[in-house]
């Protein structure tokens, strides 16, 4: 499948696209959208006909909360993950047993592509649980027969001891955590000689970061791309050529569009990645707008695998990635609006402290809520931080400021100041 001939691939994609459209007919939203667009599944005769189909936005996915977009009965759903929504409620994604198979298969492909196998000991240092990064890689690594150390995040000294004591050969984490790990290892005088491969994802990172990670950890560093709406990690992955990420075209139909006009862009042009999954049973999202900005690469890869996408560089929306967790400013606004003690204005500052992202939120108190008593302020601060933690799944520092002290905006508000620079 990885080196399938282009004409065979096109046939397969078309067959599977038709199946996905058929599957989507089980979902009320799609029956309605197809009708509005005046299109029936029979109108899809070539791959280019996908352009006739309407897009799906994250908002629509969220509006179906929790199970409205599932295309199979709940009895067939064996897993649910959640990911950030743009408001208070998370986005829910579901998987059938076959979906879990497909997902593991894709991650197994990726890991095999970079030379991992049953002799390897793989430390999976990302969050398990609702976040797809942990369980996704766990199942994929198990499939290739590697020994999985499900270390999850945190307790960095223990992570380093395990790498040394177990002879760990490959690690998966966010690039910023990898840098933190390198620093702690250096301070402990550990060289982590067994480590050969680092898989880094969930946040964008640069070539200079790659050079630093490869030097300090003594690994080959690989970029991993995915999103929960398309199972999770595993959608695209670097091969040992380190020049772009192979997208698995037998499972995902990719388009690049102009985020403003929705027009499809020519090959090589940079724009928003739109994906129609070709094998997803539980949640077949048609022309899903990922919000990620990239381009389809023309150059053939010497490894013989299919068309690549360029490394991800940004977003077409205002989504932030904080320690690998996706955060929408609208979520913060949603939380704050629900609190009567808080005024209209807030500012978000993002910094990097010891290689780890820190988010600080300045909040104006409402005139009514501003008693000036230190005790009240401390209680309020705790409450806001707690509410934000519940919604974002992330700890933030909250600073309360007097009414009227934050900047006012005419026109488009610029409430987020990202001071991190490029990773």
């Amino acid at each position: 499948m990885e080196t399938i001939r282009p004409d065979e691939l096109a046939d397969l994609q078309l067959k599977r696209l038709k199946w996905t459209i058929h599957q989507a007919q089980n979902v009320g939203l799609y029956r309605r959208k197809f009708k509005e667009a005046g299109i029936s599944p029979d109108d899809i005769r070539t791959l280019d006909d996908v352009e006739k189909l309407p897009f799906t936005s994250k908002k629509e996915l969220q509006a179906g909360y929790p199970f409205g977009l599932f295309a199979v009965p709940m009895r067939e759903i064996v897993r649910v993950h959640t990911t950030s929504g743009t408001t208070g409620k998370p986005t829910v994604v579901g998987y059938t047993r076959q979906d879990l198979e497909n997902w593991s298969e894709l991650i197994a492909r990726n890991m095999t592509m970079i030379g991992l196998g049953e002799d390897d000991i793989f430390q999976n240092a990302v969050n398990y649980g609702l976040f797809t990064g942990g369980l996704g890689f766990h199942y994929g690594a198990e499939k290739i027969g590697a020994t999985v150390v499900p270390s999850a995040t945190g307790n960095t000294r223990r992570q380093i001891e395990m790498i040394e004591d177990f002879g760990v050969t490959a690690i998966h984490c966010t690039p910023s955590y990898a840098l933190h790990l390198a620093e702690v290892a250096e301070s402990m005088g550990k060289t982590l000689d067994t480590l050969k491969i680092g898989i880094f994802g969930a946040e964008p990172w640069s070539e200079s970061m790659r050079a630093e990670l490869e030097r300090r950890l003594g690994v080959k560093a690989f970029d991993s791309y995915g999103l929960s709406e398309m199972y999770g990690p595993g959608v695209a992955f670097e091969c040992p050529e380190h020049n772009g990420l192979h997208l698995w075209h037998d499972c995902y139909l990719a388009e690049i569009i102009d985020p403003k006009t929705g027009e499809r862009l020519a090959p090589g042009e940079r724009g928003e990645l739109v994906i129609t999954p070709l094998v997803k049973e539980a949640l077949p999202l048609v022309r899903y707008r990922t919000g990620d900005v990239t381009r389809l690469m023309d150059d053939e890869c010497t490894c013989g695998r299919g068309q690549k996408i360029a490394r991800l560089t940004g977003r077409s929306d205002d989504m932030l990635v904080i320690r690998g967790i996706n955060v929408f400013p609208s979520q913060i606004e949603h939380v704050l609006r629900a609190l009567p003690e808080v005024g209209e204005q807030f500012m978000v500052y993002i910094d990097r402290v010891n290689h780890l992202d820190e988010m600080t939120i300045e909040v104006e108190m409402s005139k009514a809520g501003f008693s000036g008593e230190l005790q009240d302020l401390t209680r309020m601060q705790k409450k806001i931080a707690n509410e934000l933690h519940n919604t974002l799944g992330l700890r933030t520092a909250v600073r309360l400021v007097e009414p009227g002290s934050l900047p006012r905006f005419e026109g488009k508000a610029k409430r987020v100041i990202d001071r991190r620079g490029i990773l």
Binding site: V78, V80, D119, Y128, G134, E142
Partner: protein, 433 residues
């Protein structure tokens, strides 16, 4: 009887014992052939694989203890080749190094199979939405229950532990019907729900749950069942057995230990003699089918009783009663096992503190708290107050790293903690069930 695996679960007792004998015999021969550790131990005991001529002869074999795992850290007791291992879990050891458990593919399958039988016996299956609120990662609770729930075809919601308000919200919104967590976390969740104006009994679809990793009582079961409107089942296991592995059935009359997977003995901890059914002693288990880390006659340290007669549910396998305590000084803090020796070991590595300490365990709301009082060394004590803050934070950080559980530290002056002649009493446990 609704069974996941009827042939095994309802197997006539005699047949089951014959199966156990065959499996034990095979296991002993295999480890004698392939593992230096087992061969040496058996030779020291003067027993050979040929001496196992009946199931009772298993009693001729030497016991294993937690210290054997420590002494052979990390993988000296593994009996499968490295390329067949597909997972490591790590749990607390008695000192600095953790206990490492390895699994082959078959080990993971048997673990899930065991839980699938237990879950099904309580009526869980396809159509249930199962919230797994045990910690995921190195702790066996999360991934263990996850694989079992997936096997029976439930919809698994892997919330892991923490962010309790979000957990309550998801429980309600996603129509969760079943949950697994520690009993104290469940109670905490119930209290948080009430603060949010949500009654788990009236406002959610939750109908059953599996609770373990810490001891709980019949009174607690009654309270949980009535308050939350669910059926509450006990689940048991330790990482050395795989993880949480065995559950009660719908009868709630003890935990079924599947005889094809585990051979149970109850041993008098003082005399090492096997005790008859019904008498309380130390749970000792031989994992009959584990490939990577079989654990033969492993002294778990938990005190309980064994019930051998068939259960009213029709299953023939032996059951164990509620856990009645420990033979050693192990503490369970929020589902995590903690040995006072770990605390001692960690403190000895920090030069600014002395060797005298005291552990105070308490319960705040439903959740356990652990306070460690530590004497500062004479040199460090004469320094400024700011430095004491730094020492306190260092000790907290190091203890957290070693124990995997949050600890509060109180620094006290040198010479102020009680000294003991004879057996020291370093732990004050103020909790009651």
């Amino acid at each position: 009887m609704d069974c996941w695996n009827r042939d095994i679960e309802g197997m006539p007792t005699e047949e089951l014992r014959r199966l156990q004998y065959r499996l034990a015999k095979r296991l002993v021969s295999r480890v004698y052939e392939t593992s230096e550790f087992y061969r040496r131990r058996m030779k020291e005991q003067g027993v050979r694989p040929d001496d196992i001529g009946s199931l009772e002869d298993v009693r001729k074999l030497p016991f294993m203890y937690k210290r054997d795992l420590r002494d052979n850290y990390p993988d000296g007791l593994f009996t499968a080749p490295r390329d067949e291992l597909i997972r490591y879990h790590v749990s607390s050891g008695t000192t600095g190094k953790p206990t490492v458990v390895g699994y082959t593919k078959r080990d993971i399958e048997n673990w899930s199979e065991s839980l699938a039988r237990g879950f099904s016996s309580c009526g869980l299956g396809k159509g249930d939405v199962f919230q797994v609120s045990y910690g995921y990662g190195l702790f066996t609770g999360g991934l263990g229950v996850h694989y079992g729930a997936e096997k029976v075809g439930a919809t698994v919601l892997p919330t892991s532990v923490g962010n309790t308000e979000r957990q309550v919200e998801l429980m309600q919104d996603l129509h969760v019907t079943a949950i697994a967590c520690t009993p104290s976390y469940l109670i905490h969740m119930g209290e948080v729900a009430e603060k949010m104006g949500v009654s788990i009994k009236n406002d959610t679809d939750l109908r059953l749950g599996f609770f373990g990793a810490e001891p709980w009582s019949e009174q607690m079961r009654n309270r949980i069942e009535e308050w939350l409107g669910i059926r509450a089942y006990d689940i048991y296991g330790t990482s050395e057995l795989s993880g949480p592995m065995f559950t009660e059935c719908a009868e709630q009359k003890g935990i079924h230990i599947w005889g094809d997977l585990a051979l149970v003995e109850i041993v008098d901890p003082a005399t090492d003699e096997a005790l008859p059914a019904g008498e309380q002693g130390e749970l000792t288990i031989t994992m009959l089918q584990k490939e990577a880390l079989p654990m033969i006659r492993y002294r778990i340290g938990d005190l309980t009783t064994l019930e051998e007669g068939a259960c009213a549910c029709g299953r023939t396998h032996p059951r164990i009663g509620r856990l009645r305590g420990r033979v050693d000084d192990m503490l369970i803090i929020r589902g995590i096992n903690v040995f006072p020796s770990q605390v001692e070991h960690t403190l000895l590595e920090i030069p600014q503190v002395g060797k005298h300490f005291q552990i105070v365990v308490d319960r705040k709301g439903a959740l356990d708290t652990m306070l460690v009082r530590v004497e500062v060394s004479e040199e460090a004590f004469s320094d400024k107050i700011t430095d004491l803050m730094v020492i306190k934070r260092t000790v907290e950080h190091r203890l957290r790293g070693a124990l995997n559980v949050g600890v509060e530290v109180e620094l006290v002056e040198p010479g102020t903690l009680p000294r003991f002649e004879g057996k020291s009493k370093k732990v004050i446990d103020r909790r009651s069930l």
